[in-house]
């Protein structure tokens, strides 16, 4: 059996002990829960929000989580005397068809930042399909903020070893990829060398578009070497209840996003940097683009212009890409024939072992031994397994 993927129990534990994040969620839940209400907990992990909802009087909680960590919630619900008040749905919230809409939806499916994979789509779907009219959403709103930063360590990761290395080698071919690699960092407050600007307000009560774009104009507060733009977020879970992962705040499970400039920029206070920033959800992941124009003193025309994108940080083989084009005609292969045969044998009557044996009979050279065949068949069967039956698959992803 191959290893399960996803968060470990240890990493789920790290989320629960992450402060002040957890205290803020606790306070928001305590304020939102009314006796007997129905709560849906999306991305429940091991179910801490579900347990707290019961503690504060919820009549019923639906805990939704695709990872196996949710299995622990059944034991913990029983241990706390709430087994009859918590229902576990192992899967995606977009697959969940509720019997009753929620009075409160609590979630935290952010990654490094709120603009992460399908986080926004998940919240939009939950608001539209799972939340009762007038229901409460936790979190309520995230605000992205940004500033110029001086961070020699992150700046060096862009230029070394690609433009400078102790071996005197020309490794410049790697520099464009490093220079376009936005990354998770934890910077201190003294890294900030400009005013702070609001980038975007993600109001989860109204948001529909997972994309984001903003234009920023920033100047350093003193003569500084600027290595890039830092983005973080301030979360409002409910009115007056929130936390921030700004530089100088306690390090949380999230992170700040560092968007490097192609090269460090030595700037004076009357210089300015204009940045057009965009985050676009493509195929389940965000592509960040940042077009930077650097103006000296009060010049009308930029001295330099950089157009950077996280897309440029990936080495993509044109050959491999060509095989995804709509005009590409794939050729049949032995692997295709093998898997097609295995899938044809999954008819609800044969065991994995029986299917593996039949596959070995038809394709005797495909597997080294029966264990390898069994693992291959099991992985294929798992891939097409419908966890909740066909009627539950009504989500948008």
């Amino acid at each position: 059996m191959h290893k399960p993927t996803g968060y470990s129990v240890r990493s789920f534990g790290g989320m629960i002990t992450s402060e002040p994040r957890m205290s803020a969620y606790d306070a928001a839940l305590r304020a939102a829960i009314t006796p007997g209400c129905h709560v849906i907990d999306i991305g429940a992990g091991t179910g801490i929000f579900s347990l707290l909802a019961c503690k504060y009087g919820a009549g019923h909680v639906t805990a939704i989580e695709p990872a196996d960590g949710i299995l622990l919630l059944k034991d913990m619900a029983k241990a706390n005397g709430w087994a009859d008040r918590i229902t576990v749905f192992q899967g995606l919230s977009t697959e969940h068809v509720p019997q009753r809409k929620a009075d409160v939806i609590v979630s935290d499916t952010r990654g490094i930042m709120p603009l992460f994979e399908h986080h926004i789509d998940t919240i939009v779907d939950a608001r539209e399909r799972l939340l009762a009219p007038g229901g409460i959403q936790i979190p309520m709103r995230d605000t992205l903020r940004a500033a110029l930063v001086n961070t020699p360590k992150e700046g060096a990761a862009v230029t070394e070893p690609w433009l400078r290395n102790r071996y005197d080698l020309d490794m410049a071919a790697g520099h464009p990829y490093a220079a376009n690699n936005y990354c998770k960092v934890y910077l201190e407050a003294d890294s900030i060398v400009s005013d702070v600007r609001d980038v975007a307000v993600l109001d989860y009560r109204t948001i529909t578009d997972p994309g984001m774009s903003a234009s920023l104009s920033l100047s350093p507060t003193a003569e500084e070497t600027v290595h890039g733009l830092l983005i973080w977020f301030d979360a409002e879970l409910a009115e007056g209840v929130g936390f921030s992962n700004a530089p100088g705040e306690p390090q949380l499970v999230y992170g700040q996003s560092f968007l490097p400039f192609e090269r460090p920029q030595n700037l004076a206070p009357d210089d300015r940097i204009e940045i057009d920033l965009k985050a676009t959800l493509v195929d389940g992941d965000y592509v960040w683009t940042w077009a930077t124009r650097i103006y000296r003193a009060h010049a009308d025309q930029p001295e330099s212009v950089f157009r950077q994108s996280s897309f440029k940080s990936h080495l993509i083989s044109p050959d491999r890409l060509a095989r995804r084009a709509d005009s590409y005609v794939p050729s049949p292969s032995r692997s295709h024939a093998l898997d097609a045969h295995i899938l044809s044998l999954i008819d609800g009557s044969l065991s994995l072992r029986q299917i593996a044996d039949a596959a070995m009979d038809k394709f005797p050279k495909a597997f080294g031994d029966p264990k390898v065949a069994l693992d291959h068949v099991a992985r294929l069967a798992e891939r097409y397994h419908e966890r909740h039956g066909p009627d539950a698959s009504k989500g948008n992803r």
Partner: protein, 92 residues
């Protein structure tokens, strides 16, 4: 129908590229589609990014590669039409 080679074209603001060796992959952020360019396509693309017009690029390819002007024109016509159709290039 307008001959694409008579148009003034430029890369769309929604197009981002990544070059590996002498080949290029373009992603259109608006529709999420990928597009691959061969070495000659990469030369045309880099020329357009640098603000060159199509006649300058055509002349550079004819001079730099052992290819007839007719072949270059036909290839460029197909290339520009294709990228306009996919919104990777826009007519200005």
């Amino acid at each position: 129908m307008t001959d694409p080679l008579t148009l003034s074209v430029t890369p769309s603001e929604d197009s981002v590229d990544s070059t590996v060796g002498n080949e290029t992959v373009i992603l259109h952020l608006g529709n999420g589609t990928y597009y691959g360019l061969d070495p000659i396509g990469t030369v045309i693309w880099e020329g357009l990014k640098a603000g060159q017009d199509l006649s300058e690029i055509r002349a550079a390819i004819v001079a730099g590669y052992n290819v007839s002007e007719d072949v270059v024109e036909a290839d460029m016509r197909r290339f520009v039409s294709d990228l306009l159709e996919h919104d990777i290039l826009v007519a200005t």
